[in-house]
Amino acid sequence: MINTHEILETITMIQDENLDIRTVTMGISLLDCMDADIDKACEKVYNKIVSTAKNLVPVCNDIETELGIPIINKRISVTPIGIIASACKEQNPVKFALALEKAAREVGVNFIGGYSALVQKGFAGADMALIESIPEALAVTDHVCASVNIGSTKAGINMDAVAKMGKIVKECAEKTADRQCIGAAKLVVFCNAPEDNPFMAGAFHGVGEPDVVINVGVSGPGVVRAALAKNSEGLDLTGVAELIKRTAFKITRMGQLVAQEASKRLGYPFGIVDLSLAPTPAVGDSVAYILEEIGLECCGSCGTTAALAMLNDAVKKGGVMASSRVGGLSGAFIPVTEDAGMIHAASIGALTIEKLEAMTAVCSVGLDMINIPGDTSADVISALIADEAAIGMVNSKTTAVRVIPAIGKDVGEELNFGGLLGNGPVMKISTYSPAKFVARGGQIPAPMQSLKN
């Protein structure tokens, strides 16, 4: 029998503490859509997505009504287009972006991810053409997200790709300068990219995945913060970690339930639940506030990395027991412009890019949603990507860079994307030149950690 306390706890979590399912993401393989004729391939891509995902949004809406839990985003991830486009004689991958956009609009999803290339060890097929087309693809579409995997623990870091991506990130921002440089916010540069990630902008459907799969990303920083605010007085850090674990368990159970329900109703297998604390700009739904609740005056102070490491670990430990299959990024996200507490910390200068870099060594993703001055050189962006990839490569974890060069703006000014992407100040970045390092190109060899066999 359910007791009153439990019922009220659940309802409070949803109504007051922003508990929600962040995303139900349908992964769709496009391997059977390859064709030498690019127009035919695009038609197949459109048809497959629309026929497979036509019920995704209505089914999620039904689940939302019945269970009373908001499902914020319904999304689609597809096989990296770099692979699909390789079969085409004509090298104009933007046509695929337009096909994806059309399909996303038709089925009513918020985002479609997979305009991607996996080049950690080198470029093959249409990879280079795809990478070069990213700025245009993101400028002419609204829903398409792009990602490029430039390194891995097994392969090392492809520094030619890193050099290229610095320029591409900048071009993405320049091409959308009239729209708050939004292009760069839809592009993620990865090291160790997971193949079953349901979160944007980095979601794509890996080639080892089944034809169609349902992945779910949970959220809930607000719930964790509220649990700490109510119950952590007088607890030592072991106690705090335990409290976070218990809360993460409950949040994840919700994700597991929604994932199973969505999988059953849509008739496609359940893939994974991604145990992530994904903040939103809504007041209270912030990872930074959790760190502050643990005992820091402001996110970014000394102690932030340690507190974040504990939080990240406790979330995983609580979540892993609650779900039959866990995957994706799974951990705490620290996207600056999407987190009210981080926006505040960055605005008052308490949180710097250097501190964020340290934090990415212990949390789930990387330098995420950071606005940098518009005149930052492509070399600096490339070197930032290389630093971040090195952290991921050596620690056998996913790291990523999603920085937005704020064209025409400087430190202290702001970019405002609206919605879940939020807004935030332009942050200071070191301008000493790494040009010679970046221009060397080549491959940073895989580290000793790769030799596990």
């Binding site: 359910i2 009153t4 439990e6 019922i7 009220l8 659940t10 309802i11 039904d62 009504t65 019945e66 269970l67 009373g68 839990i69 409950k250 159970r253 919700m254 597991q256 339930l257």
Partner: protein, 89 residues
Amino acid sequence: MRAVITVVGKDSVGILAKVSLKCAESNVNINEVTQSVLEDMFCMIMLADISKMNKSFGDFSGEMEKLGQEMGMSVHVMHETIFNSMHRI
């Protein structure tokens, strides 16, 4: 199949009657009710059998929400599974 109906808001005459009438109209059988009034705040949780309900869950929950608005209270209908999965291993 059971649903949890929660009603929270300022106490007034006929809350229980209006909510149960809506349940009866929808062929929803109320199994259990717990309610309390703290000062003038009314808080009620109902556990109801919806297996023979004569409309869709979405319609029922929509009507209940509308009823809540008319009474100036917050009324929510949620499926029992969410509570079971969150609080039971």
